[in-house]
């Protein structure tokens, strides 16, 4: 029933096409971006959270 109202928009058919194009471009770009990283960099970044365990507790104060 809403098709009728949509027919009044100029070039309504362009909307789904735009959506499809945006999506394809987005995911192709994302894949390329992910692939462009070399393994060393990836591993280095992945271990960032584990690198902060050697803390120096001497400045601790009781509160």
């Amino acid at each position: 029933m809403f098709k009728h109202y949509f027919e009044q928009i100029d070039n309504v058919a362009i909307w789904p096409i735009i959506s499809l194009v945006i999506f394809v471009v987005f995911f192709v770009g994302l894949t390329l971006y992910v692939m462009s990283h070399d393994k060393e960099t990836i591993d280095e970044i992945a271990s960032i959270p584990l690198a902060d365990d050697d803390v120096l507790p001497e400045s601790g104060e009781k509160s």
């Binding site: 994302l30 971006y33 959270p49 584990l50 803390v55 507790p57 400045s59 601790g60």
Partner: protein
């Protein structure tokens, strides 16, 4: 390379942890209260402030913004500093963020039981609080971006991406959905009306789940799970894909909350398609979390932190598979408006959000107090009692949802509803409500155990308020070409911009067509604005939170049109600021209640629901009979509505009070003439109940004027 010394701020983390625990217990306690009210309505205590309709938003807001919100702040403030090798940008901003947020929560805890609400789910808080939320949120953002800019670690770890996306998207959602026209200091009307209001609200509601309950918590998962397991995340590449596809797709799926409603079909389909697509990134994230533990499952046996996280990530996987499935129209036809949805959100809330927060707290407190957890055994007990609580909560709700929904739809061979009386379906699921409360109580018991355990742990340890660390300063690299910006400045800003673009695309494509074309909402000439009395009654309906149990949206199914009347049309809601479609039918739909029930029936029913509907779980509303309205208060409401485009004539305010009283007197006459027993009853025309009845009687009548029939049951 000189090492710079600096200290991490643990005080702010501790403050947010205390708030998390306290508000977690409060939010769960309110939840347990409303759960018990659903089978034992006397727990309403007969006072206005504790009815289900007012406590339900208090429960949802307390859990989402107070419990999960504070746990997210705690986790972000802890992990952000360490991931970026720097103290927070500004301690002052940290504390403004903390105290501001707690003040907002306090304001919510006071206003919601008082019935001060906008009625829009998870956005119930009124306009001054909305502004405060915006300010505090921006302060959090400035503090976070500032921290990123002064970092000593070149690469932004994926958790930080999730935090940035959370900040941006929540800001956009909150601002767009909170456009409202103030009437008085604590009363406003939504800028949008009807179908458009519903679309904006569920674009917000769905994405509040996405960007308040999911993305920041995923960020926490990507930091704390590798920490607890002491191994890097399974696939960092997968986490990049997880992040970008999640924020890009999530934003489109809001309309799946409005399937079979008066929302245009194309928008409904859009919501469904994108919901199905969402399975991919969500499960990518879940598998990434679980596979991080490959080779470390022996640790999971001993470490309560990992136990909680494994169940949390699993619950994330369950909920994110179930959500898309619920957005398939044939499944949604059964699940929507039923307790199935309650089960679904609690898999997410209790399982994903709650358990991840618990795991994080069990990890953080011993670390910050430089000691061991006081009792691993008690933590394990908490784990099992909590898990059991989730199961005992969710299973009865699934059963109740499906049972009741199928009962609503069942016909006899003669084509009559088998359960024409809505109450029969309520009574059949009351046992499930009891079981659900037991599950919730178990879960709360576990949380109390945790609180005790954490306090004991803190007592035996020594709090490290400023944790020292050192790292080399980040070299500022010069970029050839263009400006002499450093990478340091460029990357986070560029990243933030890209994330913003990603989330805006979906929102724009989803909403623009509906807002662009007036004809998207076909006008119905017989639909007229509410009279002053009805407008006042509608505000009482909003104040009492009726929309938390009653929908105003009849779906185009035979089972619904037979039970409730003609299905709802988009054009009927054009003057509804805000829309009141509701999302759960604890009681029957009310969109055409004006055609079904009489003034005197409502008068008896609202005073003591069981008098007209034996076994009803609706609370009585005796105060509506004593409290009176000053008709003058309607005048600014009329003006506000006119400013929003509702066609009240210029100068209508001059005669509005007169109209108000004339209609009120007529309602009183109707009540007395319809029921012998009420003939000598003193009914003040200005009393709130009269206005509410006028509104209920008006509902759904504009498009067809059927003759009313006196009904004895809530059909």
């Amino acid at each position: 390379m000189t090492l710079e010394k600096f200290e991490y701020d643990n005080r702010i983390v501790r403050a947010f942890i205390i708030a998390t625990v306290v508000f977690g217990l409060v939010g769960m306690l309110v939840g347990l209260t409303v759960a018990i009210q659903l089978f034992y309505p006397d727990l309403n205590l007969g006072i206005p402030y504790t009815t289900f309709g007012r406590l339900r938003p208090l429960h949802t807001n307390a859990i989402i913004f107070a419990f999960v919100g504070n746990s997210v702040f705690a986790g972000v403030y802890y992990s952000l500093q360490r991931l970026l090798k720097t103290r927070m940008f500004s301690d002052a901003l940290s504390w403004i963020n903390f105290w501001g947020w707690q003040t907002i929560i306090l304001a919510a805890a006071i206003t919601l039981p008082l019935g001060i609400t906008t009625s829009k789910e998870y956005a119930e808080l009124e306009w001054p609080i909305d502004i405060a939320i915006t300010v505090i949120w921006v302060i959090f953002g400035i503090n976070m971006i500032g921290t990123i800019l002064k970092r000593r670690e070149r690469h932004m770890y994926v958790a930080v991406w999730f935090y940035i996306a959370t900040f941006i998207t929540v800001a956009v959602l909150h601002v767009v959905n909170s456009f409202e026209m103030p009437v008085t200091f604590l009363k406003s009307y939504s800028w949008y009306a009807g179908v458009q209001d519903a679309l904006v609200q569920w674009w917000y509601g769905h994405n509040a789940v996405a960007f308040f309950l999911t993305t920041p918590v995923l960020g926490l998962m990507y930091y704390f799970l590798p920490k607890a397991a002491n191994r890097p995340v399974y696939s960092y590449r997968l986490s990049i894909i997880h992040f970008w596809s999640l924020i890009f797709i999530y934003i489109w799926a809001g309309p799946h909350h409005l399937l079979y409603t008066s929302l245009p079909d194309w928008a409904q389909s859009l919501g469904t398609v994108f919901s199905i697509m969402l399975i991919a990134p969500s499960w990518g994230g879940m598998l990434n979390g679980l596979l991080t533990l490959r080779g470390a499952w022996d640790k999971v046996r001993e470490d309560p932190v990992l136990k909680f996280m494994v169940v949390a990530v699993t619950a994330y996987g369950m909920a994110t598979l179930e959500g898309p499935l619920l957005s398939l129209k044939n499944i949604n036809a059964i699940a929507h408006f039923s307790d199935w949805i309650i089960a679904h959100v609690h898999i997410g809330g209790l399982g994903w959000n709650g358990f991840l927060a618990f795991g994080m707290l069990y990890y953080l407190i011993p670390k910050m107090y430089q000691t061991k957890l006081w009792s691993t055994k008690l933590a394990n007990t908490h784990f099992w009692i909590g898990t059991l609580g989730i199961v005992i909560y969710a299973l009865p709700m699934y059963v109740a949802g499906v049972v009741q929904s199928l009962m609503w739809k069942q016909f006899t061979p003669d084509g009559l509803l088998v359960y024409g009386n809505f109450l029969e379906t309520v009574n059949s699921i009351k046992p499930m409500y009891v079981m659900r409360a037991v599950g919730g109580a178990l879960y709360l018991t576990g949380a109390i155990m945790m609180s005790y355990n954490l306090v004991k742990t803190a007592k035996q340890g020594k709090f490290l308020s400023d944790e020292a660390d050192e790292a080399p300063a980040l070299e500022k690299k010069k970029i050839t070409g263009g400006h002499w910006h450093s990478v340091l400045e460029r990357k986070p800003v560029l990243f933030t911009t890209l994330a913003f673009v990603a989330i805006v695309i979906g929102g724009v494509i989803e909403m623009v067509p509906t807002f662009l074309v007036k004809s998207n909402v076909p006008t119905i000439s017989s639909v007229k604005p509410y009279t002053p009395l009805e407008l006042e009654g509608r505000d009482i309906y909003i104040r009492e939170g009726c929309n938390n149990c009653h929908s105003q949206m009849i779906r185009p199914f035979r089972s619904e049109t037979v039970r409730y009347g003609e299905y709802s049309k988009a054009g009927e809601f054009v003057y509804d600021h805000p829309f009141l479609w509701g999302s759960k039918r604890t009681g029957p739909d009310l969109h055409r209640v004006g055609d079904r029930l009489t003034e005197s029936w409502h008068f008896s029913h609202m005073y003591e629901p069981t008098s007209t509907s034996p076994g009803s779980i609706m609370p009585p509303y005796p105060w509506l009979y004593e409290d009176v309205v000053d008709p003058e208060t309607v005048l600014p409401k009329i003006s506000a509505m006119r400013n929003l485009g509702v066609p009240y004539q210029d100068g209508y305010e001059k005669i509005a009070v007169q109209d108000y009283m004339a209609q009120a007197n007529k309602v009183v006459e109707e009540i007395k003439s319809q029921n012998e027993e009420l003939k000598d009853q003193v009914i003040v025309p200005e009393s709130e109940i009269v206005a509410l009845i006028a509104y209920l009687e008006r509902l759904g009548k504009d498009i067809n004027a059927k003759t009313k029939t006196e009904e004895t049951a809530n059909k």
